[in-house]
């Protein structure tokens, strides 16, 4: 039970950490100053969520690992983030589509998670929900603007959507960890989230005049620690300093 809870909190923490880190790569490179700041605000929210979850994961594990140790001293195969979160930024279209597909999941998920019987998880979800509500508003807005924009922006959005679609199935995948924690009333049954996600995605895609991909084959593995090649590069950059200078302090 403790090890399932550790696995679950790691998954939540790692997913927010990695997608937050991805967004932070836009710092100083945003298409315009205002969007640069907006993306970094979202990145900061997500890294903050990661910190709360990883801090808690460390407590649950009981081996005196804090959030920093968990973030900076684990290897790829120990990370439990979903594959969608580690996909590269590519261009603004990819970043927005990735964020939207993720926010559309996170929003109903955190809504349910606030009902978790684990008080700590419920509290983190409660705090994060306000942030996620804005993230979803931001990314939905841009989906519509760019999808229903110029021929060029529409084409870029559709390409991003087609490429990223195969990473969406994993969002709803469940394993022993979920089974065990759902019984305890701690975890969210992702089968309940799926129709809410589908509804949101199809209504925004329709408004954005984008075509929902029909691919049914889905990538999988992140929740078990099997990642795409991108995660290693993210960790190399993210972990370089604490690994090179183990005594470095903030």
């Amino acid at each position: 039970m403790q090890s399932a809870l550790f696995d679950y909190t790691l998954r939540l923490g790692d997913t927010s950490l990695i997608i937050g880190h991805r967004l932070s790569e836009w710092c100083g490179h945003g298409p315009v100053l205002e969007q640069d700041i907006a993306l970094i605000n979202i990145a900061l929210d997500l890294v903050g969520q990661a910190k709360s979850f990883l801090e808690y994961a460390g407590e649950v594990e009981g081996k005196e690992r804090d959030a920093d140790t968990l973030a900076y001293r684990r290897l790829e195969r120990e990370f439990r983030n979903v594959l969608l979160s580690e996909q590269p930024n590519e261009d603004f279209a990819f970043t927005i589509v990735r964020q939207f597909l993720f926010d559309a999941f996170q929003y109903p998920f955190y809504q349910r998670l606030t009902q978790s019987k684990d008080a700590q998880i419920a509290a983190i979800a409660e705090k994060s929900l306000k942030e996620v509500t804005y993230h979803l508003r931001f990314s939905s807005e841009w989906m519509i603007r760019l999808g229903d924009g110029t021929a060029e922006s529409k084409a870029k959005m559709q390409t991003a959507l087609n490429e990223l679609w195969m990473f969406t199935g994993e969002l709803f995948e469940m394993n022993e960890t979920d089974e065990m924690l759902i019984k305890e009333g701690i975890a969210v049954d992702l089968n309940e989230i799926k129709p809410l996600w589908e509804q949101r995605v199809s209504s925004i895609l329709e408004e954005a005049t984008l075509t929902q991909p029909t691919t049914t084959w889905m990538q999988s593995g992140g929740k078990k620690g099997i990642h795409t090649e991108y995660l290693g590069y993210i960790l190399a950059e993210m972990q370089y300093l604490p690994r090179a200078y183990p005594d470095a302090k903030w």
Binding site: V32, L33, E34, Q35, I37, A38, N41, F138, E141, T150
Partner: protein, 95 residues
């Protein structure tokens, strides 16, 4: 992306209930909806505000700095317009 710039908007933030909106700065945005979202991200990150107004900069009409003399100087020598000639009882303190 087209080389054409988005229009400029002026942002006004109300910091606390009961105080008026104050000019916070300006930003670029394609329309009013985006201007409010950008303003939220650019100007309210440190809990500065509870309300945002945006107005496209081209809609602001300003006084001409060259006319400063005729507009403002006549007020200079009319000190009696300031209520500084009343004795305020000590108990009242600062007004």
């Amino acid at each position: 992306m087209s080389k054409k710039n988005w229009p400029l908007w002026e942002v006004f933030i109300r910091s606390k209930q009961g105080l008026s909106h104050k000019h916070a700065g300006s930003l670029h945005a394609a329309d009013e909806k985006m201007a409010i979202e950008n303003a939220r991200d650019v100007y309210t990150r440190r809990m500065e505000g509870v309300s945002i107004w945006v107005v496209e900069s081209k809609h602001i009409h300003a006084s001409n700095p060259l006319e400063q003399g005729e507009l403002f100087e006549p007020a200079n020598d009319k000190v009696y317009r300031h209520p500084t000639f009343y004795d305020i009882p000590d108990e009242i303190g600062h007004m």
